[in-house]
Symmetry: C2
Subunit: 425 residues, 2 copies
Amino acid sequence: MVELNFKPGDKVRLRLALEELDGQVLESSDSSVLLLKLESGYNVGIPKENILAGRILSKFNDEKTDEKNDFKLPSNAERNVGLIITGGTIASKLDSRTGGVKPLTDINEFAKFYPEIFKIVNVKKIEVPFMIASESMTPDHWIKIAESVERMLIDKEIDGVIVTHGTDFLGYTAAALSLFLRNLNKPVVLTYSQRSIDRASSDANLNLQCAARMAVSDCAEVMIVGHATINDDFCFAMPGNRTRKLHSSRRDAFKPVNDIPIAKVWPDKVEFIRIYKKRDDKRKVELDINFNDKVALVKYYPGQSSDILDYYALKHKGIVIEAAGLGHLPVTEAATNWIPRLKKHIKEGFSVCAAAQTIYGRLDPYVYSNGRELVDAGVIFLEDMLAETALVKLGWVLGHRGWIGKVKEKMLENFAGEIGDRLHV
Amino acid sequence: MVELNFKPGDKVRLRLALEELDGQVLESSDSSVLLLKLESGYNVGIPKENILAGRILSKFNDEKTDEKNDFKLPSNAERNVGLIITGGTIASKLDSRTGGVKPLTDINEFAKFYPEIFKIVNVKKIEVPFMIASESMTPDHWIKIAESVERMLIDKEIDGVIVTHGTDFLGYTAAALSLFLRNLNKPVVLTYSQRSIDRASSDANLNLQCAARMAVSDCAEVMIVGHATINDDFCFAMPGNRTRKLHSSRRDAFKPVNDIPIAKVWPDKVEFIRIYKKRDDKRKVELDINFNDKVALVKYYPGQSSDILDYYALKHKGIVIEAAGLGHLPVTEAATNWIPRLKKHIKEGFSVCAAAQTIYGRLDPYVYSNGRELVDAGVIFLEDMLAETALVKLGWVLGHRGWIGKVKEKMLENFAGEIGDRLHV
């Protein structure tokens, strides 16, 4: 076996039995395998015993500073983005010890794994407010991310912002940003990966390149950018507060719900599918991070006792219930009638909202008497808003002192496209 | 305007300006409109002012008895089914007073609305254990339905059973039947409608006809039969414990999750898509309705306190948590670490299962350290089982005294196809 003194990031040429391969060396958790990123963007793992010879074409320049606001990677790109790294699989690599993954905390290491985006955009600023898996996030993290994004949006030289994030609760953060950043002036693009970059099947590279492309596009919305299909061919840009993770492992896990994608995205182009809010550098973005985290989400299941309302009303200001069907809960004729406790707590100032546990579709309290009784009791029916978005919005609405007594009105006000036009469904 | 002395169920011929129409009169909530079911199965509403003339071709014979176990509607069909009516939209009609719907409680009235199924099958027995909307159902209702189904399955003359049911929690009942009816010998088909039969867009008629066709098929599984698409063209027969309501109003609201449909179904034929358990009249069905209703379902959301475990552990024996991603909850490094309370309650005999809040996909606790910590704490990862099915199954497993100490083993035993083959996903 030949000796290979390659380091991650090096561009190399390998001679195999039947072909020559050029590519960039990636970190590999398996010392018997050389992981190579090809020009096509695909990663291939080559058993070292199959490599007849290899030479370095260009060494990776590892002498960047990682000083936060002055970080600049070599780029010929003309447009600038801000990059916010928060953790998750997209900022993880295989841990050869456990077989699991560990965070990719170092910025230079991040750049080694993702060299392509620097061809599309110039990363003018990087912030790493924290590095955690998204299942560990709380509303405090949404606020920190929003503050980072706002700092970048007000920078005249930055054209758009990319946020890399874990997949599990990416939808919540996107919904929060869509509400926290009022009067948005530029693209805010969240992206992710389902499989870490050192696996051959990783979706990270395409997602990040398409996120970069979208971040310099004309669309001033909060978007999630990720694989449109299970193939590694193109991405969708999807509305941040109307997109849900709908698969635990597939590369196209994120789907718009009750909506269509904003655009199809490739590393080198964007094809818009629907109308969108356009960028306007003169618009002054406003950060509105008033938030009351005393809100809860409950998915109703058959036979569930309404006691759960007592439990939550004790320490919380409001609740989103994933109701059945068009927004149903057991009422008058049912063994477990929810109406008395709903009335009691709503009267005492507890806000109760209904969202659809079917995921897709719109609530309609006026088809069955069940729904009408719930409206009479004071339940707020949230149209076709995602339950996850509804939880974020309820905390945000309740966080505004000026909106006391206006919870229903504000929950049904369409601040950032979180409620769909009836014509869309 | 001509005088029309038609009654619901009458077969009539109408003369309009440009055509003649034959059909059966349906009840209409609007007295200015005659609702007619055409031979094609479609319902049309005709403003009475447009009717130039009309005559009765045959009067509806309204003199059936509704004695439960002797009910027989005229039918030339050779095969017999049992019919269980439990409420829901499929057994509802428009209430012209409120604009909502009200239950279709009378059997003869039911037969008037659904004459077609009696051409496909002979309804030998009818049971109406209760009439409620499915959102008001509790585990006691699942047990009553299972008892009705079993009584019919042991009748040698009955080829299969149809259960009409509300849509909201149809999936839970189907999951329960798949577990409660061990060693199933014949088809058990649940069906529904999203829109009541007196609306022109109703899906009820096609669903019921396809359910009848499936009930006399060769497939001895618990199935949900309903529209395959938004068109009124054909239905899918879907596995009862792996199918979920995924839209609040569309006719094709039910979708198999992590699975494919069992068959395509038309009123006159079945095309099987995958292998299935075949009917065997010699098999002796066993009713196993041991059930502990002290189980709960919780969907984890960002920042949720693990206090909720204390609340449920107080009065419950087990819980299914809709965890994030591959089965994640906040662990060691998170502000809200769930591990200490999980360990405490699991040690004291409280069963904690994880299902996927992404709906689609399989859990895998071994990819991230997060999952491994939860396994170590004793959380049972339920592969690709639907959260709704998991709740039913947990109550069923905990209802068996003989299985104390074997909860994990039994939850992961594949009793009725509720866990998918890895190759399917």
